[in-house]
């Protein structure tokens, strides 16, 4: 059991315009992503929506595997811009690293 923290999306807005609020979890991005396996990038966006920042941190290596090919952003039916969400999360962790 983990508690949901929707305020995380507000915090994330400091790192980019697209924090993933618009995503309705259809999974099209994961289907077209050239990276193998799992639910990337939808998984990261979903974790961001419910504020599961620990989960994102646990699996943050995946963020740096992203090729930024833009396929997910091109095909997203909701205009949620998944590629930008991944960049936003990268910026968050880069900022955390600098602070530490």
């Amino acid at each position: 059991m983990s508690a949901v923290n929707p305020a995380f999306l507000d915090e994330l807005e400091a790192y980019g315009e697209n924090a993933g609020a618009l995503c309705f979890n259809c999974g099209t991005c994961a289907a077209v992503c050239p990276l193998d396996g799992g639910h990337f990038p939808r998984k990261m966006i979903r974790y961001a929506q419910i504020g599961a920042v620990d989960r994102i941190r646990e699996e943050s290596r995946e963020l740096w595997r992203c090729l930024h090919c833009g396929l997910c952003t091109q095909t997203c039916p909701r205009g949620a811009n998944p590629g930008e969400v991944i960049l936003t999360l990268k910026r968050l962790f880069a900022a955390e690293w600098r602070k530490s």
Binding site: S2, A3, V4, L9
Partner: protein, 655 residues
């Protein structure tokens, strides 16, 4: 050929004289291969041509096409035929097409018989047996056609007055549309208020119209229209008659619920516009030509313990929440407060009392499960969530859904807007619904959900409020269903005659459906259905009369002995009765039919010991002729020699 001259000179329709010998035309349809791929249509035509009474037999690729109909009409006009048999698809598709063609040619549309050789033959049989079965069915039709007499439709005078039952958005829309067509209309409403379910709502999804404003406008127009009489706190207490002339009785209902302080015509928030109450005392009786059912819906009442309802003051229904939200004041901190209690976060649970599944959900006190989708709650929930997020941005909103069904114009955009406003959506499986638990923490309640969007993880939502998006159930109108003999679907809503072809009509002619008595609808859809119902009812009443098929019971006065067996067997009260008449100076009882009430079922014909009653167009004699022709080998005897197609029993055919 002599037949030809006979009608050409007289200028009378060939079928006009019942003494005319039967000249049957048999018209066999290929149905573009649907029939002719399996039935040897030409062989059947040749067989039929040689049948007694048949003067011509023709085939056509599509008998329902203009050239197909023309061939029938030409034969009628020339006098070659005076009775028509069409062998094609099911009569429900084109029986009326061919009857109308006969009428256009000047014939009697009731000297017609239909043989279904598509659904009953070519779609289920193949080869020689198909051809032979088609032959037998058409022979039977021809056998009956020989005995068909000309009939005239029953003409019923129609009262130019309509009754609308229910004063919600559908009832008011229907009444206004009827009045606009010049039809005097009485609207009855059980409660003291006009407005129905709409009066309880706020800004409507998805475009934000003001519900109270719509109710005010409709009710204002109703109350000022000289053709509309409004009877609030009234109920229908008796109903009889038939289309064009229903006799209705309206009685005052109990007056406990009336708001004493409000003046008539005033809008009472959450209730509607106070309407004129039915005068106490004796019931009011009048005749109405048509009735519009606009009895609306009831909101599902959650069972105690369902998602914490009844056990926690913080668990409320969506209709209740919408009412409370209307009165909520904005605060500088941007937090929603209900009463003085701040709502830091709230969870809306979808599909409460809708889409229930046998074996998963428990039946409520009604003993029924609501297996239907209530259609409006997704948009209403998202609309409420959006209102909260925009007006009270410090309040967090969770939506727990099974499926989102934002189907109408603008609804999908509203759903996207709610996402953009950071409403958190979570999806649960019906087998593992969310739990609402009382906790001793910062928040009074916790919603625990296995979220399918987060790969089946168990999530906890701390909340101050749980809102249950309750669905729609049919209003409790058992008395009306029994009184008007209305059909009810498996979902307990009123059931239309046909969902596509006759969507606001009922099998009871002259009674129409408007709004949520038929199915869950939003206000726009209810108004749409109401306008349809009013247009149908208006079209019926403006003609001043109604024509009904003459397939009703007819008494042979020479044979009736007044046993009353038919009256006992009759299924529709009032269709048959015994009447005293004088025959040869003696007072006797004789059966009398009220044609407009007769269902044409034939129960009377089956029980009459004297054989004195028959259904016109379907007499026992005609049935016997059909049975004789089904068993007859006459059609096969002529074709066996020509070996067009194999008869099932060639030995017998040769005899």
């Amino acid at each position: 050929m002599s037949d030809l001259k006979q009608t050409a000179s007289g200028g009378q329709p060939a079928s006009g004289c019942p003494a005319d010998e039967a000249r049957i035309g048999v018209y066999i349809c290929h149905c573009g291969g649907n029939i002719s791929d399996h039935v040897d249509v030409e062989a059947v035509r040749e067989r039929m041509e040689k049948m007694p009474g048949v003067t011509v037999s023709r085939t056509n690729m599509f008998m329902c096409s203009d050239p197909g109909q023309e061939s029938i009409m030409e034969d009628l006009k020339s006098g070659l035929v005076n009775r028509v048999v069409v062998a094609s698809c099911a009569p429900s598709l084109h029986e009326t097409t061919f009857r109308a063609a006969i009428a256009r040619a000047g014939g009697n549309p009731y000297q017609y018989e239909h043989a279904n050789i598509r659904e009953q033959v070519s779609w289920v049989h193949h080869g020689a047996p198909a051809t032979d079965k088609a032959t037998r069915l058409i022979s039977a039709a021809a056998g009956k056609a020989r005995l068909l007499t000309p009939l005239t439709p029953i003409r019923v005078e129609a009262q130019r007055r309509a009754l609308v039952i229910g004063g919600g958005v559908a009832g008011m829309r229907a009444a206004l549309d009827l009045a606009a067509q010049g039809v005097r209309t009485d609207l009855i409403e059980l409660s003291p208020y006009l407005g129905g379910g709409l009066a309880r709502l706020d800004k409507l999804a998805p475009h934000g119209e003001d519900a109270a404003g719509i109710v005010r406008e409709l009710a204002g127009n109703i109350l000022s229209d000289p053709l509309i009489t409004t009877h609030c706190q009234a109920r229908l207490t008796a109903f009889g008659g038939y289309v064009g002339k229903f006799s209705v009785e309206i009685s005052p209902a109990s007056r406990t619920a009336r708001a004493q302080e409000a003046a008539p015509g005033a809008f009472v928030p959450g209730k509607g516009v106070l309407g004129p109450a039915q005068a106490p005392g004796a019931p009011e009786r009048f005749d109405a030509g048509a009735v519009v059912m606009a009895t609306g819906f009831s909101s599902y009442a959650p069972q105690k313990g369902e998602y914490g309802f009844g056990d926690n003051a913080e668990a409320v229904t969506l209709p209740r929440f919408i009412e409370e939200l209307k009165n909520a004041q904005t605060a500088p901190d941007g937090m929603l407060r209900l009463g003085s209690r701040p709502v830091r976060s709230l969870a809306i649970i979808h599909c409460v009392g809708s889409r229930q599944i046998p074996g998963v959900h428990e039946e409520g006190p009604s003993g029924h499960l609501n297996e239907h989708c209530s259609r409006t709650c997704c948009a209403a929930s998202i609309n409420a969530a959006l209102t909260v997020r925009k007006t009270f941005p410090a309040t967090r909103v969770y939506e727990l859904y099974r499926d989102i069904r934002t189907y109408g114009r603008g609804q999908e955009e509203m759903y996207a807007e709610a996402s953009a406003e950071k409403v958190t959506f979570l999806r649960f499986d019906v087998e593992s619904p969310p739990e609402v638990v009382r906790v001793n923490g910062q928040y009074p309640l916790e919603v625990r959900v296995r979220d399918e969007l987060t790969f089946g993880e168990n999530l906890e939502l701390p909340v101050d409020l749980v809102v249950l998006a309750t669905g729609m159930e049919p209003a409790p109108i058992r008395d009306l269903i029994d009184m008007l003999k209305l059909p009810v679907g498996a979902d307990r809503f009123l059931l239309e005659t046909h969902p596509k072809l006759r969507p606001v009509e009922l099998p009871v002619a002259g009674v129409y459906l408007a709004g949520t008595c038929q199915a869950p609808m939003d206000a726009g859809e209810a108004a749409n259905a109401a306008s349809s119902a009013a247009a149908k009812a208006g079209a019926l009443l403006r003609r001043g009369f109604v024509e009904l098929d003459p397939f009703v019971a007819e008494v042979d006065p020479a044979r009736c002995k007044g046993t009353g067996a038919c009256v006992d067997a009759c299924l529709n009260e009032g269709a048959l009765r015994l009447q005293e008449t004088e025959i040869g100076g003696e007072k006797v009882m004789r059966a009398v039919v009220t044609p407009a009430l007769c269902l044409g079922c034939g129960a009377c014909a089956a029980v009459c010991p004297e054989g004195a009653i028959n259904v016109s167009g379907w007499t026992l004699e005609q049935y016997e002729a059909m049975v004789d022709m089904i068993l007859s080998e006459a059609a096969f005897a002529v074709t066996a020699d020509e070996s067009v197609s194999a008869s099932p029993e060639p030995a017998e055919a040769a005899v």
